[in-house]
Symmetry: C2
Amino acid sequence: MNTYLDCFPCFLRQAIEASKMVTDDAGVQRRVLNVVMEKMSTFPLTATPPEMARVIHQIIREVTESDDPYRLVKERSNEKALELYPKMKELVGTSGNPLLVSCKLATAGNSIDFGVPSSSFRDYHSLIESALSSPFKVDHFDEFVGCLSHASSVLYLGDNAGEIVFDRVFIEEMRSFKDIDVIFVVRGGPIINDATYEDARHVGMEKVAKIISNGCDYPGTVLRSCSKEVQELFQSEDIIIAKGQGNYESIDGSRRNLFHLFKVKCPVVATQLKVDVNDMVCVNRAGWGSQ
Amino acid sequence: MNTYLDCFPCFLRQAIEASKMVTDDAGVQRRVLNVVMEKMSTFPLTATPPEMARVIHQIIREVTESDDPYRLVKERSNEKALELYPKMKELVGTSGNPLLVSCKLATAGNSIDFGVPSSSFRDYHSLIESALSSPFKVDHFDEFVGCLSHASSVLYLGDNAGEIVFDRVFIEEMRSFKDIDVIFVVRGGPIINDATYEDARHVGMEKVAKIISNGCDYPGTVLRSCSKEVQELFQSEDIIIAKGQGNYESIDGSRRNLFHLFKVKCPVVATQLKVDVNDMVCVNRAGWGSQ
């Protein structure tokens, strides 16, 4: 999707929050903002929001001289989520529909996002409870199950640290449901709190999927910038699961085998999908017209 | 108060929302944003937020060639609030504490603010109901009543169109409580949806108070820029009531006879006052230390 002017205040907020994570020096924070605003003034609206977000976080890293401002946040997110792993397994195992419950958990895990306003280490337990009692507000889960029933390979585009533990639970259930090979794709470098190779390894993703890097550091999946391997897998795999709003914003097209799972984070996307901010969605854009 | 970097995304959001009110031309909207961002890059943080807000809305008026983008919004706010006037009078008249109830209504009226995110013509009835059941989260109302008991003159610094109908009800109750002269101060020119002389006349404020302009067009009260008359009244009147967060942000000092009534609109001010966004407050800053 294109970038909207309404995204600009959000870019600026992200720049402030990330700068504050790295430095208390108000002068440095102000320099970050000024460079970001200068870049925003010429940013083409035909580019996707994750492309601008990447520029912003590059500026933050350069001006604050910090390689990975969210490193600690990512580590803590992974640890907190790992603590919940046994509870999630129990919840899924004792439910009447493990595939649906684990899919909802994976979507709820998308709440762990430091790119959105005032994110913090919220109560993960209540996050799980509320997720399980909330329906998908765009609900193409049945189409997903239909697709999965005939699939033997899944390309899973991950999103944030912490969230990837929830993804692991979902992947385990998919593999119980159907004999599939899963490739789990992470960002090629640090960007906001998005999961990288180290994060995926840290939560044991290699036990359930092959982990590969997408070869670039957008907080989304800008396919033309991804490695040739990921571009080819995007064409060849039976199902693609794309986690998070950044992947939704940056992947164009409406393939029948592409499913977006995320919590809606902003009014721009909420309006597009005719849902509210914070709603959980399971979207197949090819199926969208038939709603 | 100083401007914080956290105010910058909010300035940008205001610029977008106001531009959209005036024009559908995305190119013009973008030009507004770019000029605003350029100005923000050199704006001194020692100035108050209303001072930056004034610059922003000047830019909007210049670039969009619109003298008063919020004119229609203000007219509609006044009309909607006037429709509620009989109900408010009844509520106040049948209550056990008309002064408190009308003061709360006046504070609730401060919700009518198009400078805050996603404001719209919300359900004014529910606004009244919820206001009456909510306490002041900073509550210096007793000190206010004590002050009023010994006063013969009140300088009332108004805020938004629509809200001024709620103010009128409060002023009527103050005058029932005590024989006082009230001077109602409006902005000297159009700025956001702040009430001007025409708005005050439109809602019949002249029946209960003398209406005067403050001589400038900040969305707040920047005293050194106000008319000599207002500056002198600020020193001589027995009580000053300052409505709205813009007046709180722009008036410094902690006079025993100055009371701020507003709904808290943003996290920066909420943090300062140790309350939550959307809380109603009745603040005397001289009394703040004794809390």
